[in-house]
């Protein structure tokens, strides 16, 4: 029996990815979650991080909402990019922007937490 389930990633302006996979690793707000077939219905949201689909597809996302039901995984993300499309210059720009934002004093703890994750993840990409 196939162990695959359907996965769909949508951003506000287009569909990013759609296909079947047997495993997806998501950077959920409270830690990484791996979804396999027949996972119980789940709704959660993401922090900045890397979405891994199977072995080949990787995406960098800044936020997102996830719904899993009936073996359909739906990821709604506003800012998302395939890792293949991120080059070093772009990456450094994003890190700098995030660090600048982090250094301003008027941000909440939650925003700090999110920004820290963003920087950390971006630094890991190579």
């Amino acid at each position: 029996m196939s162990q695959e389930f359907k996965i769909e990633i949508i951003s506000p302006d287009r569909s990013i990815f759609s296909g079947n996979t047997d495993e997806a690793i998501l950077p959920c707000f409270e830690g990484q979650v791996t979804i396999l077939k027949d996972h119980i219905p789940l709704i959660t949201y993401l922090r900045p991080g890397i979405i891994e689909i199977g072995k080949n597809e990787k995406f960098f996302t800044e936020d997102g909402t996830v719904e899993f039901s009936d073996n359909n995984l739906l990821i709604l993300a506003t800012t998302i990019q395939s890792l293949k499309l991120i080059n070093a210059k772009h990456k450094n720009n994003m890190i700098q922007e995030a660090e600048k934002e982090l250094s301003t004093s008027q941000i909440s703890d939650k925003q700090k937490y999110i920004l820290n994750y963003k920087i950390e993840t971006l630094k890991q990409i190579n």
Binding site: P12, F29, L42, T65, E67, S69, L76
Partner: protein
Amino acid sequence: MPSLDDLKKRIKSVKSTQKITKAMKMVAAAKLKKAQENAERGRPYSEKLQNIILNLTKSLSEGSNAPKLLVGNGKDKVYLCVVITADRGLCGGFNSNICRLAKSHFQKILKEGKELKIITVGSKGHDQIKAEYGDFIVHKKSFKEKKQITFKEANEIGKKVIELYEQEQFDKCLIFYNNFKNVITQIPQAEQIIPTFIKQEDKNKDKALFYEFEPDEDEILEDLLPKNVSIQILKAFLENAASEQGSRMTAMDNATRNAGDLVDKLTINYNRSRQASITKELIEIISGAESL
């Protein structure tokens, strides 16, 4: 009776106007295709987001302290209206239709003795509304220099709206935009975005799955609802962009056709008066020759 020269000038000017409207029509047609695609691609996201919110609200227990963005703050006094229009004119009734709908809502709100606040997006709408309701406008925004509206711009407006809401500046928020049905029909629409409007029939459709929530419902909703506001605004933007081009295309098509009719009419006039003057000259010559 205009002279031959005058007629000639008029024909020339109408013809050049026709050329402009024809070019505008073609530009609009090309842009329309892109805008339409964008609007269609944006639909699944907002639909699915609404779905998730629906599923979430189903599992929220009654009477729990649900976020205010979802259920409202219990008051019904101050209305915030976001009127989204285009930055350019020459697109038929596009801008006026939105403004007319918005104004009828404003009247109703004021009649009921409620307070009104307006945010205008797009300069054309601002121009039309400020004459009558200028005092109520709290914020105006225009993305004239932006070629294409993306989530970033919509988010800007969304954040502004939420900021005002958190300061308890208003109780309910409506947005006005044109829904793109097809090239000829665009329907001006008013939609409530705060508190989140859930269709009654959807609520009754009971196939609630038991979802696991991580962290818990309230926290997810807190993350989701502000995003939903921005997404609804983005959807309005995209629909509007497609509607604007569609509306402009039809308007310019009509204008081109009218110009064509006018040219035909003027040409007939021109030929007639030319013929008349020739005949007149001939008569003068003949009667001159006869009298000799």
